[in-house]
Structures are given as structure tokens and as C-alpha cells.
């Protein structure tokens, strides 16, 4: 069992947890993730390690409630426990001093991009962060991102805060301003990552995305997480999750992520029902 040390909401439906996992805290590198299983009946779901404190022996994860498992997780409080936390998994981000590096996060993708943005800064890059949210109250990690960037931008779809528009528009603006950009990291919903790849492609800017295929074991033994990169099959959990954005078959990823749509909805509905029952009781 892995004890939750703290649990706080960062925005509606997005919760940050500090969990006791000393071996993982000691070992993890930017870009890596854990697989968690909430309880005996739980499924295994991947979540990025947003931060860690090796001294305290804790890791930080930030989860957005999108379905049964993440919503159930977000019901957990400090002092509760999680049955399994495995990691660190995946290949760490490739970090070097590229020069000027832009980190783009969409929604909860901001949390996934954060550790890598921090590592890019640490490696001496001039770091620009662009973090997008639908509206002001969904903006997360603003201070943390500012602390690791030389320039930090927030975009909101509805214009309620920061730049009015999509992250790609802000990116295009920066490119058009004539800034020399050496590296782009983009993490968020699949359409967003694809859109970023399309923006940088004509300029030949090296662009990396962190893919979110469906995973089970996270150790390379099921092939459920396979993605097509440069025409070849890669395992997201072993070879990734980060890949060259210009080589990724985003359509295939989006299609494959829909396989359990129907079951996910059923599970979600059952959970909602159970929640209501307990609330009545």
C-alpha cells in the first residue's frame, strides 16, 4: 500500500497528490510515469510523475478526472492509500542544451510537461512555456511554470485569462516574431499535439510529444500501448512515451484510444450511480 501524504485540488476536477514511494522518488527522471492501481478491483492506469522529493520519499502526480478510475482517485484524501504504484516507467526525456526550448502544455498536459520543462531549464536552455486551458479557472501550475521559464505564457480558449486563443496560435506568433527556436515539447490532447507538429514541421523545428496510448502493464509485455512512429511499431511504455512529433501517426493513436469507449462509459456511469448511493446514505 502506498500512503497519500497530501491531496489538493488545483482546479476543478484536477487534483495533485503527494504519495509515499521512496524507491521511485529516488530514481525517477523527467518524462517518466507510474502505473497505479487504486484497489483490489482497480485497473492499472498510467500517470506522469510531476515531481518528487527523494528526501521525503514522495512523488507527486496530478490527475484529471475523466473516467471511473481517475474520478475515483480524485475522491482520495491525505491519509488514504493506493494499492499499487509502479515505476518509474518509460524512457526519460532526452534533455540537452538545445538553445531555446518551448514547452507547450494543454490542459492536464501542463502537469506532464512540467518536469521536462524544469529539466530543460536546468540544462541551460532558454525556456519558453505556453500553457493552454479552456478557461481561467482551469489554469494549473502557473507559478511552478513561471519559476522554470524565461518567458511564460498562458492561453485560454475563451480569452478569460492570458492570451485569447489556442497554444498553437501563440506558438505561431513566437515563430513569426523571428525568434530562433531550437526545440519544442508539446503535451496535451491528441488534436493539440498534432496541431503543434503541423505548425513546426515546415520550419524543421525538432518537436517532441508525449503520447498517451492505453496501457496495462507499462513494462512492455502486452503491446496494448503500441503506436506507429515513422511507419514502425513502437511500444509507448518502453520506447516512449516521448516521440518525434513529425513521425507520429496521430490518427492511429486517436483511433486506437477509442477501443473501450463503450466500456469506459459504462464504468463511469456505474461509478456515478454508486457515488449517488453513498451520498444518499
Amino acid at each position: 500500500m502506498y500512503r497519500i501524504v497530501s491531496a489538493i485540488f488545483l482546479a476543478e476536477n484536477i487534483k495533485k497528490f503527494e504519495i509515499e514511494a521512496p524507491m521511485i522518488a529516488k530514481k525517477r527522471k523527467a518524462g517518466q510515469f507510474v502505473i497505479i492501481r487504486i484497489d483490489q478491483n482497480g485497473e492499472r492506469i498510467p500517470l506522469t510523475i510531476a515531481d518528487s522529493d527523494p528526501e521525503k520519499g514522495t512523488i507527486t502526480i496530478i490527475a484529471q478526472g475523466v473516467g471511473k478510475s481517475t474520478r475515483e482517485l480524485n475522491c482520495k484524501e491525505a491519509g488514504d492509500s493506493i494499492a499499487d504504484v509502479v515505476g518509474p516507467l518509460g524512457t526519460p526525456s532526452h534533455i540537452e542544451n538545445f538553445g531555446t526550448a518551448i514547452s507547450i502544455g494543454g490542459g492536464v498536459g501542463t502537469a506532464i510537461a512540467y518536469p521536462t520543462a524544469a529539466a530543460l531549464k536546468e540544462a541551460g536552455n532558454y525556456v519558453i512555456t505556453i500553457n493552454g486551458a479552456r478557461s481561467k479557472d482551469l489554469v494549473i501550475l502557473e507559478d511552478e511554470m513561471k519559476a522554470v521559464s524565461d518567458e511564460a505564457y498562458i492561453t485560454t480558449d475563451d480569452g478569460s485569462y492570458g492570451f485569447h486563443g489556442f497554444v498553437t496560435q501563440k506558438l505561431q506568433e513566437l515563430i513569426d516574431s523571428g525568434k530562433k527556436i531550437d526545440f519544442v515539447l508539446a503535451i496535451g490532447p491528441i488534436p493539440m499535439m498534432k496541431a503543434v507538429a503541423d505548425v513546426t514541421r515546415p520550419y524543421g523545428i525538432k518537436t517532441v510529444v508525449s503520447l498517451n496510448p492505453i496501457m496495462i502493464d507499462g513494462t512492455g509485455m502486452c503491446g496494448g500501448c503500441r503506436v506507429t512512429v515513422g511507419g514502425e511499431i513502437k511500444f509507448g511504455c518502453i520506447d516512449g512515451p516521448e516521440f518525434d512529433a513529425h513521425q507520429v501517426d496521430f490518427k492511429n493513436l486517436a483511433d486506437r484510444n477509442r477501443i473501450y469507449q463503450h466500456e469506459e462509459k459504462e464504468a463511469n456511469d456505474t461509478f456515478a450511480h454508486e457515488c449517488n448511493l453513498t451520498r444518499q446514505a
Binding site: R37, E43, V86, L89, G220, M221, C222, I238, I259, A267
Partner: protein
């Protein structure tokens, strides 16, 4: 021979495709005693050499015949601590029973069924027989992977008096026994119970540790103070066929399908499990391959409600690597065999969901390196097999994780770990390996044999004394 081979009762085929309960029900004590009497107690029991861990077959069978069932448990456990498991899954027809002298004229003694009976007898008797443990040696050994290889190695090392810690990547112990072989062939409760026996011996189990990621082999030895390491991580990386359409929605590896159903209990989705599995109800499901894994996957799909569940195999039934018993069981359950057939590509609809497999008929040509006749395509025989799910079961390779993070462990071209066949030692000092990671996909009992061999070599290396398994 007056006594016929005792037939094990089994669940009715029609009934059993509707559940995940065990198919074979086990011999009754009377049947076991009858079967044991069929053994003629050869002076030179050739069956023992046919067993990769050399169980004293004649002796344990004699004890059954005498009605001393607990004595039989003790005898088997000198060489095999997982009899309930091995009795169920070993291919005895290719091992001990293949060489049994009775088999020359009649059916061989049902050694596997008797082993299973003995294991089950102990588990249900309320009495426990635990092996004697030598006094502590003060040495620590790490076992990586809790499949049959790791478990048997851990068991022997514990008996030699070493402190053993098993590190397992998944949240459950047992390796393929837990995530691969289905409940209806090997109930998971049995695996857990046999594992409890190992716990009672003082072996420590640590799940959720991926060696190579959470901790490396060098760190285990240098920082955690382990004197030796045994690697039994299996060969779990699924192979794909590399044909067009393999990434369509509905095409998956047998490992994924079986892991969802067995380890994650997806057959009980929405009740005791949050893990979904492809909805097979009323669908057409094809499994590509002819090994044990393919049989397990296809029978699982049938139980999940598939209307048609096919085995698509490029050679003929004779060449199938699956156990005869399982092929027989599959046929009884209504599995349809499309033999001498190979897929060329998968086809799908506009939403990228699988709708069919373009298949080609084959005929058998000259024998190849493996001695099996090579399938050759029949020109113009292509046709589309309409299917909703395709399960790829053409084998697994070694996972590259350990090799990537411990480059001084030598691996072959196929990425299997290279060992000295006598000691199972790798190219790295004090690091040993065995099981599927060395041989590629093989059998439970061969993995256990390798684990035992490594344990003996590790014990010698660490200066432990030879143990006397008989002294308990």
C-alpha cells in the same frame, strides 16, 4: 494390464463455455489409488529422467497406492514445491509419461494427474508440509521475476539457508501462471495457495518493482547488499506479424487479451473488476497461432461469448505446438480450426475498426530446419474471413529492459541471456539467469528446472553447504 487408466472427471463442454471455472475436476482418492496401482514400480524408473526436476515418481506413486497421501506430498515436495500447478500444466505426454514403460503397450501411468491429486490433497487437507530450512548463512540473494523459474530458485535458496527477496514487476506473483494461463486451466487461488507455502519459508516478496527501472541489478548488489542475483524475467514481449492493418482497432496481442482477462479479471468487468476487455458477445474472433497461448486465448474468447472463435494456423494440426489435451478441450468447446491458413493483411472500416482478415490457404512442402514441413502458399486461394477481433499469438521475445540497463550481461542475437549451461551463470559475476529469458518461450517445468540448477550453483558459489532435501 487389468486396470484401465483412470479418466479424470471434467465439466461438461456445453456448460463450461459459459463459465471460467476449472475444466478438469481432479481424481477422487479412490481413482488416485487405482491409478497408482497401475505403476509397476520399475527397478530403473525411466519416468524420473523424463521429468526436468527429477521427481521421485515411482516413490510418490507407491505412497499413493498405499494410501499414505501425506507421505506422497512430502516425497514430491523434495523436488517440486508447486505440484498442484505442475500437475495441471506440464506437458507430461512429452516428458515423464512419454517414457513410462506401461505406455509401450497400454496407456502410460497418469503421472501428471497423480501429481495434481497429491498437490490438491495437501491444499485441501488442512495439513501443511513445509520443507526443512538450513540454518541461516547470512547471505542474501535477489530473485528477479516471480514466474516458475524465480519461484523454484527462491525455494531452493531458502532451503539452503540464504535470505531470499523476490522482486516482481506486476502487482501479483506467479508470472505466466497468473497473467497468462487462464483460470479455467489453473485457478488463480491455487497459485496463491502454493505461493503461501513459499512465504512460510521466510521468502520475502516485493511486488511493483521493475528491475531495470525501479532499481538496477548493479544497485541490488552494490547498494542493497545482495550477494547474488537470479534473473527469471521470462520472455514476455509479444511479437507482431508486421502485416498491413495490424494497428486497426480490434487487433491485439494474446498477452494483452489474457492479461486483461486473467490478471485483471476483466471477465467480471463492472462487478469485481474495473478493467475492460473487448466485448466478444456474438462477435467473430480469430486467434492467429497454434501454441498453448493461442488455445488459451481462443477458449477465453469463446467464454466471453464469441459466436465464432477460430484458430487460424499456417500448418496442420499435427504440427501444432499446443498440448494435445488442450486442442481436444478446445474442439469440445466448439472452437473452429482453420488450418493451413495464413493472414496476409487485416482490413477495417472507415473508423479504423477491424472487419476482416485477408487469408491465404497453404499446403505443406519440404521439412524446414525445425523438421516440420514448411507451409507454402496456394496461389489464388485468398479470401476474406470476417472477424471483429484478431488476437495475435505467434510468440514472445525477451523484454529488453534488463539488457538495456545492465549492458555487461551478454545476450544472444535473439536478446535471450547467455548462460553457462551447467551453472546458469551469466557473463556477469554472481548474476545467474534461467527460464524463458534464457530459452525463449518454453515450459513451466523447464523454467523450474533451470531455477533449481541456478540455486545449486549460487549456493556453491556462496559457500553454502549441500542440503539434504530428504531430512524433513
Amino acid at each position: 494390464m487389468a486396470i484401465p487408466r483412470q479418466k479424470m472427471p471434467a465439466q461438461d463442454p456445453v456448460e463450461r463455455v459459459g463459465n471460467f471455472k476449472e475444466v478438469n475436476l481432479g481424481l477422487t482418492p479412490e481413482q488416485a489409488q487405482q491409478e497408482a496401482l497401475r505403476c509397476i514400480q520399475c527397478k530403473d524408473p525411466v519416468c524420473i529422467a523424463g521429468c526436468p526436476v527429477n521427481i521421485k515418481i515411482d516413490q510418490f506413486i507407491k505412497l499413493i497406492a498405499e494410501g499414505d497421501f501425506m507421505g506422497a506430498v512430502r516425497k514430491i515436495k523434495e523436488d517440486n514445491v508447486l505440484p498442484s500447478i505442475c500437475g495441471r500444466v506440464c506437458p507430461q505426454e512429452d516428458q515423464c509419461e512419454k517414457v513410462c514403460v506401461i505406455g509401450k503397450k497400454h496407456e502410460p501411468v497418469a503421472i501428471g494427474n497423480l501429481e495434481r491429486f497429491v498437490g490438491d490433497y495437501e491444499r485441501t487437507s488442512g495439513q501443511k508440509i513445509d520443507p526443512k530450512i538450513a540454518p541461516p548463512t547470512g547471505k542474501k540473494v535477489a530473485v528477479v521475476g516471480s514466474g516458475p523459474a524465480g519461484l523454484s530458485c527462491a525455494n531452493d535458496l531458502a532451503q539452503y539457508g540464504h535470505k531470499v527477496v523476490v522482486f516482481e514487476a506486476l502487482h501479483e506473483l506467479g508470472g505466466v501462471l497468473m497473467y497468462g494461463i487462464p483460470e479455467f486451466r489453473l485457478p488463480k487461488e491455487i497459485v496463491r495457495e502454493e505461493l503461501d507455502g513459499l512465504r512460510r519459508m521466510g521468502i520475502e516478496f516485493r511486488t511493483d518493482v521493475v528491475v531495470g527501472r525501479t532499481i538496477t541489478i548493479d544497485e541490488l548488489m552494490e547498494e542493497e547488499g545482495f550477494d547474488a542475483v537470479f534473473i527469471g524475467v521470462g520472455a514476455g514481449l509479444p511479437w507482431f506479424m508486421g502485416i498491413p492493418g495490424e494497428n486497426l482497432v480490434g487487433v491485439l496481442a494474446a498477452n494483452e487479451f489474457l492479461t486483461r482477462v486473467n490478471l485483471m479479471k476483466a471477465y467480471d468487468f463492472l462487478k469485481s473488476s474495473d478493467t475492460p476487455v473487448f466485448d466478444c458477445k456474438g462477435k467473430n474472433v480469430a486467434v492467429f497461432g497454434g501454441g498453448n497461448t493461442a488455445m488459451d486465448a481462443v477458449r477465453t474468447a469463446k467464454r466471453l461469448g464469441a459466436e465464432h472463435a477460430y484458430i487460424v494456423y499456417r500448418r496442420s494440426e499435427k504440427e501444432m505446438p499446443a498440448r494435445e489435451e488442450e486442442i481436444h478441450n478446445a474442439k469440445e468447446e466448439g472452437i473452429e480450426f482453420l488450418l493451413l491458413t495464413t493472414p496476409l493483411e487485416f482490413v477495417g472500416d472507415e473508423k479504423a475498426w477491424l472487419t476482416g482478415a485477408k487469408c491465404q490457404k497453404m499446403e505443406l512442402g519440404e521439412p524446414d530446419d525445425s523438421g516440420r514441413r514448411r507451409p507454402v502458399p496456394v496461389e489464388g486461394s485468398e479470401y476474406i474471413l470476417p472477424i471483429d477481433m484478431a488476437i495475435i499469438s505467434i510468440g514472445n521475445g525477451p523484454n529488453p529492459l534488463i539488457h538495456q540497463t545492465t549492458p555487461d550481461i551478454e545476450v544472444s542475437k535473439r536478446e535471450t541471456i547467455v548462460v553457462d549451461v551447467n551453472t546458469m551463470q551469466t557473463s556477469k559475476e554472481n548474476v545467474y539467469a534461467g527460464g524463458d529469458i534464457v530459452t525463449g518461450g518454453a515450459t513451466v517445468i523447464l523454467a523450474m528446472g533451470a531455477g533449481r540448477k541456478a540455486a545449486a550453483a549460487i549456493n556453491e558459489k556462496l559457500g553454502g553447504t549441500a542440503k539434504n532435501f530428504n531430512e524433513w
